[in-house]
């Protein structure tokens, strides 16, 4: 499809001149140009919610930090994706995620294949400077094929979005507020008793950590496949 040239925006990300379509976000443009911006809740093919705040970037002329996943590009924008200030905030966010639940990488099904873990490694986190909360949260293994382990959930809501937007089942949702929030199936009932769940497993594969996994997987064996997502989205859009 030919688009009018006037619809192209030009901006700078980390000093590099880049071009973008007006409906694109800073994160999308950065990704196209191989500029790394950390994120956990955003996933290509799903709607964006700006929940994890890891993709906060500095934009010249703005006093506040802006989430790159939901901020559209503007003409002449000057974006900084990495600075001491941003790195500090990102590390603090990750450390708080680790303290919020019980993340024990060494015995996790997603060890070595976990987005939370690899991001922490990438940002050079070696210690957590906040006290751990050690909440007592349940493991629900009532589903025939899958397990939800709330100990490892970071409340990114990818499962909620993929279930609603791609599968169309809306089995998952989030219950409670703030620190008490939990992902739930149907009306907070055991997953195995959910009437809306189709058992498609998309939620398991978009989950960034070991919170959702296939039953019977041993430590480090839960590999997630997400390549299907953008294609599914594209096909849905074409049909519409």
């Amino acid at each position: 499809m030919n688009r009018p040239a006037a619809n192209i925006k030009t901006l700078k990300i980390d000093g590099r001149d880049v071009t973008a379509r007006p409906e694109e976000t800073i994160l999308e443009v950065a990704r196209q140009n191989n500029i790394f911006i950390p994120r956990l809740c955003e996933l290509k093919g799903l709607s964006t919610v700006g929940a994890c705040r890891l993709c906060l970037v500095e934009v010249k002329g703005s006093n506040r930090l802006l989430p790159a996943c939901v901020t559209r590009v503007e003409e002449g924008m000057e974006v900084t994706t990495s600075s001491e200030r941003l790195d500090g905030y990102r590390k603090a966010i990750l450390e708080l995620l680790f303290t919020e639940r019980n993340h024990i990488c060494s015995v996790c099904v997603s060890n070595a294949h976990c987005e939370l873990q690899s991001l922490a490694q990438k940002l050079g986190i070696t210690h957590v400077h906040f006290p751990y909360r050690y909440p007592v949260v349940a493991v629900d293994a009532s589903h025939e094929r899958f397990i939800v382990d709330h100990n490892r959930c970071i409340l990114c809501s990818r499962c909620v979005r993929v279930c609603e937007e791609i599968e169309g089942a809306h089995t998952w949702d989030i219950m409670g507020r703030g620190i008490d929030a939990l992902v739930i199936t149907d009306l907070n009932q055991p997953w195995g008793s959910s009437e809306s769940c189709t058992g498609c497993g998309k939620c398991v594969h978009v989950c960034p950590t070991g919170a959702l996994s296939e039953k019977g997987r041993s430590v480090a064996e839960m590999l997630k496949r997400r390549q299907f997502l953008p294609y599914l989205t594209l096909m849905r859009e074409d049909r519409e």
Binding site: N111, A141, I147, K215, S218, V219, E221
Partner: protein, 475 residues
């Protein structure tokens, strides 16, 4: 003279944290001794609620030295939950994995922890009584020890991907088959390991003459001996039935099903230690005292099943017409087992089936209860799990090798202390012997490798009023 208590805290050159108290009577003679394991772990409790499929790796964290034993026993308990028969190649690969770990663990015990006593003597200066002291006096012996441990660890890494806490052993088998390159590399390393084992055996047999007094008093008393043996009565580390033999060397119980361990083994909790004491139920507590580990295994097994180890086993049995009773001979038994392990790995690796890609059986839980038992380097290891219908752990019980030996270890330090510790003043050699007898059993207390260097040793001689009469500080 007043009644006194001597406390050795912590005990050095062992795996984990422990202290020893020696109770002296008015005449300054030792009248009682306790081996206190002072650490609390809680694995049986905090695994509750976890999916059973995580258990092998979770339980492997009990130990950094013998994680493979926990992986094997745990995976076998999970196999029982799945109620599957694992593929024959997976069975053989697990065996090789276990043998490699026995070699590296025995090398650690013998060379790193006990060779200073054997080479430098029980009365050596504590400052040099360590691997560096061995390196100075007999560099080739120290190098052999380091090399042998490396040999075992490298095999574990080749099979499992990493040396400590590999996640390769899974319920139903193993996660990856063996590659030709790794098989060939392991096979190529076997001759050197065998040569080291042979050299060390010769050296060890040459040293025993100077330890007559220790041999006579280091846990030299009648007990039962327990170990897993193959159907034909041969030595095994992976699978078989439990055999119990008495001090005369006669089999008192054979073909016992490891899954029914609770029928014949009792566990007793003592108020002064976090380590449970296990006893043979038909004889009750404490008469049901038995020993496990290298000495017990070579005492109960009819044969090793490999040529060199069998030769050495025959020679070993010449030490005593009955079962070999002195715990000092744990070291000797350990060397026989190293020979066996290397020879047995050769047999398994040259089996053409070893490269098969079929190494895992898949199933959902088909039983709500499962027991896995295997011979860890230090003795028989049991993992026993109960799950709910969703596959989440509801209850777990573990019996670790060191627990089986607990009564015997306590009795051994009493025997050693009665023989060597007396008088008003403490000499390092006296107390080192008390520690050295514990080292014979190679207890795995915390089962961790994160302790660096030599731990401090503090011994206090207290009178009944708690006043310090004498004190020795090391480290």
């Amino acid at each position: 003279m007043e009644r006194r208590t001597i406390v050795i805290d912590p005990v050095t050159r062992i795996e984990g944290h422990a202290k020893i108290t020696l109770h002296l009577n008015e005449q300054g003679r030792v009248e009682d001794a306790h081996f206190h394991v002072t650490q609390f772990r809680g694995f049986e409790k905090f695994c509750e609620g976890r999916p059973f499929s995580e258990m092998p790796s979770l339980m492997a964290r009990i130990c950094g030295i013998c994680p493979v034993s926990h992986l094997i026993a745990s995976a076998k308990a999970c196999d029982a939950l799945l109620a599957v028969r694992i593929p024959p190649t997976a069975d053989k690969l697990r065996r090789i994995f276990g043998l490699a770990q026995v070699v590296q663990s025995h090398a650690l015990s013998l060379f790193y922890l006990s060779s200073p006593d054997l080479l430098l003597g029980m009365d050596a200066d504590p400052a040099s009584s360590n691997l560096f002291g061995v390196l100075a006096k007999n560099p080739s012996l120290a190098r052999d020890g380091i090399r042998l441990r490396q040999f075992g660890q490298q095999i574990i890494e080749r099979l499992g991907g990493k040396r400590i806490h590999p996640a390769w052993i899974v319920p139903g088998g193993v996660s990856e088959p063996l590659t030709v390159q790794n098989r060939d590399a392991i096979l190529a390393s076997l001759p050197e390991a065998l040569a080291i084992a042979e050299r060390t055996m010769e050296w060890f047999k040459g040293t025993t003459e100077q330890f007559r007094e220790e041999i006579a008093s280091f846990g030299n008393f009648p007990t039962l001996f327990m170990g897993i043996v193959k159907e034909d009565g041969g030595l095994t580390f992976y699978d078989g039935k439990i055999r119990m033999a008495n001090a005369a060397g006669d089999v008192v119980a054979d073909g016992l099903d490891p899954a029914r361990y609770a029928d014949y083994l009792g566990e007793k909790v003592e108020s002064w230690s976090y380590l449970k004491s296990t006893y043979y139920k038909p004889k009750g507590f404490p008469d049901g005292i038995y020993r496990v580990g290298p000495l017990a295994r070579v005492n109960v097994a009819d044969r090793c099943g490999t040529p060199r180890a069998d030769q050495e086993l025959a020679e070993f049995h010449e030490l005593q017409r009955t079962a070999v009773l002195s715990s000092f001979h744990y070291h000797h038994a350990r060397l026989i087992e190293i020979l066996y392990c290397v020879e047995r790995m050769q047999q398994l690796l040259t089996d053409p089936e070893i490269l098969s890609k079929h190494v895992r059986a898949f199933a959902r839980p088909n039983a709500l209860e499962g027991v896995g038992a295997a011979e860890a380097p230090r003795g028989t290891l049991f993992h026993h799990y109960k799950i709910d219908e969703q596959g989440l752990i509801r209850w777990a019980n573990l019996i670790i090798a060191t627990g089986h030996n607990n009564i015997a270890m306590n009795k051994s330090i009493l025997q050693v202390a009665k023989h060597f510790v007396h008088g008003e003043r403490l000499a390092p050699g006296m107390l080192n012997r008390v520690e050295a007898v514990i080292r014979c059993y190679d207890p795995c207390l915390s089962c961790s490798t994160h302790a660096a260097g030599q731990m401090a040793l503090q011994v206090q001689l207290l009178n009944a009023a708690g006043e310090v009469l004498d004190e020795v500080v090391r480290g």
